[in-house]
Symmetry: none
Subunit: 215 residues, 4 copies
DNA sequence: GATGAATGAGAATTCATTCAT
DNA sequence: CATGAATGAATTCTCATTCAT
């Protein structure tokens, strides 16, 4: 029973990601999500309060997965710059690997005023927390500068990643997002590293490819 | 007639900013905006195609004003770093000076799927264009690095500013946004400058004040 | 404009009586009422707050008409017993003449919890007020007793009339309701005791006819 | 098993009276009634066809109890007037003693269209039957008049009692209902005419107390 | 008999938008 | 140009009821 119940919740979440990505949040019908999950419309409301709750739950659940997966990976790196690079790469590849989820996170989710007004504390704070850990670790190790507030650095990193992914989504997801990793890390680390850019030695990879709107 | 007409258009836009900020985009009633502008509901449709067009027009019009005002100011600076600093300061102070507008731009506007899907080319591209000009100028002058794509740098700058302002809005606009200017510029320029951070000599100003969620 | 507006309100009320009587309050569709009034569904909501408000407005409007019509007639009688007889006759004939309205008042209206909880002060109080005037007048003239509270008498009269009409409605409106007038007046004025109080001299009319469930 | 089963049925009925009185028929949730009876929602449907059946069963069961209890008491009186007085007193005190039941009978029950359309033959007919027996007995004994139809008299008695109790419920059950007994009996037996028919000798008791809306 | 998770029908209502005046 | 009364499309969500366990 437990299992079947958890299973249903997940089926609804998966269906929601697909339908939200395909139709957009407002056009998406709850009945359509239910059908795609193989359930009756009313059943959705046994697991989620309403349509917006469903959208936000998608974000929360997936973000939690991301955060724990990312953290496990990140902590295998001993070098602060590598940790940052690891995060950036996973962030970009996470979305590149799941276009539906990318559309949900970068576009549809923003149409929830509850989300935009940061009425959702969980997921985003969790993610910002992970970034901040990396920042604090880098400072402790002497790899990242300490004169600028850690919060500001955290938001610079998140803001940059978010904007880059959004631009990729908007431009039709046509170019290779992950290939921007090195350039991004270089930009960010050279900014937050105390000395010049040679601390983090990374060759600057190829651009995202043809049509890269970020060029 | 011309004047009165332009006047009405402006009155509607001003009313819209207030009502959108106060009620949020979806709760905002067109009839309420009309009333606040001293007009009948139908009249709004003589000037704007629909409610979303009104929201986006607010963005376009205000952004155009911003861009031309910012550009005039920016171009008075001869030094690339100063130009960047000027932009950052104006961006932050522009929103700090008009909380209603800030709420509109950072929260309500995102609820327009047309905006989020970048169906709006004008305003945002204009603003990104202004940032890019500064970046290109800095590169030409040898103050900003050339190994990383200018587009990426542009998005780093915009993404960071946008995230910082969003965070300020969400946290209740309680701290001083403008006072973050120097730290932000330092972060950005030290990242994008070819050599170490001493190119742009700026003292790191005070933090945003108590309750600054960016710390 | 005024006239057309008033006209629409009336058209809606008339349509509502018909639809409520035909379908019952809950089965009645607002869209059906609108259609029967030759209007769009939304228009109903320009004149009435919601479906229940429509039902209650039917009651209020019609009761006000009844009360002013009844009062005009009643006051032409100089004798208290005649006044009472006049009221009873008009009450019964009012419903007998309009079966749809009878169904609305005796059945559908009771399904509004707002009405049943006496959330509606206007109409019913108005009608009870009219009955009470007759009672007070009769007491002043020495025709009605003073040892029993006027309120109780008022409710005896109203309760009896209401129950008699309800019974008639429920039994299919098959017998002649008005013909019960004289018996009712006699009962009310003289009670069920054996000797006819000859104060109010009225022959006892025929029964309501075949199938009269009140026999 | 039998006993436990009957017990559950009763627990459901008791819970229903409380919930209907507290929430009103429509707002009342079957699951809430079940919970209050210490059972699962589905179990209610082993004992009752549906929610309306539950409401009507409350009425039927309680009315049957009333009728047999009232009849036993009434028949101990040998005098027709005393029988009537006994009925009136028991009717009033029955409701006064159980405010939840009063709310159910006078308000919620009327919201059942099946009840209002007299789709329920049992309980009400039973009660009307009891009243009628008293009327017929009074006629046989020469205490009640024969010129008026017994049915009409029955309905006068019931309508008056019903209206008086309804008014008491609506006004918040604040005054003493039972103390109206004597006045009511006097009114019914002797009418509203001026001279007290001394047939039924009963002192006119005190009014219902302060705030009595029947005054 | 008892359970309670799942069902799915069903319509009131809002409000952006129109267009006759 | 301006009005504002009228329109009508469009869908979430509830909760009584069922039935597999």
């Amino acid at each position: 029973m437990r299992v079947k119940t958890a299973d249903k919740r997940l089926r609804i979440l998966d269906a929601a990601v697909r339908v939200f990505a395909r139709e957009g949040f407002f056009k998406a019908r709850v009945s359509q999500i239910a059908e795609e999950a193989g359930l009756a419309p009313g059943t959705v409301y046994l697991y989620f309060k309403n349509k917006e709750d469903l959208l936000i739950s998608v974000f929360e659940v997936r973000t939690e997965e991301f955060v724990s997966r990312f953290r496990a990976e990140v902590e295998q790196q001993r070098d602060p710059c590598s940790r940052l690079a690891c995060l950036v790469r996973m962030h970009l590849s996470g979305f590149q690997a799941d276009p539906d989820l990318a559309a949900c996170f970068q576009v549809e989710l923003r149409q929830s005023s509850r989300f935009m007004r940061r009425g959702v504390k969980g997921g985003l704070q969790l993610y910002l927390g992970l970034i901040r850990e990396i920042v604090e670790f880098g400072r402790k190790e002497g790899a990242f500068r300490k004169e600028v507030s850690a919060g500001l650095i955290t938001h610079l990193i998140f803001g940059t990643l978010d904007e880059v992914v959004s631009t990729w989504v908007m431009s039709g997801m046509k170019y290779n997002l992950v290939s921007l990793t090195d350039q991004l890390v270089e930009l960010i680390t050279s900014g937050i590293g105390p000395k010049a850019s040679l601390l983090c030695e990374r060759g600057l990879g190829a651009e995202g490819g043809p049509g890269n709107t970020l060029n």
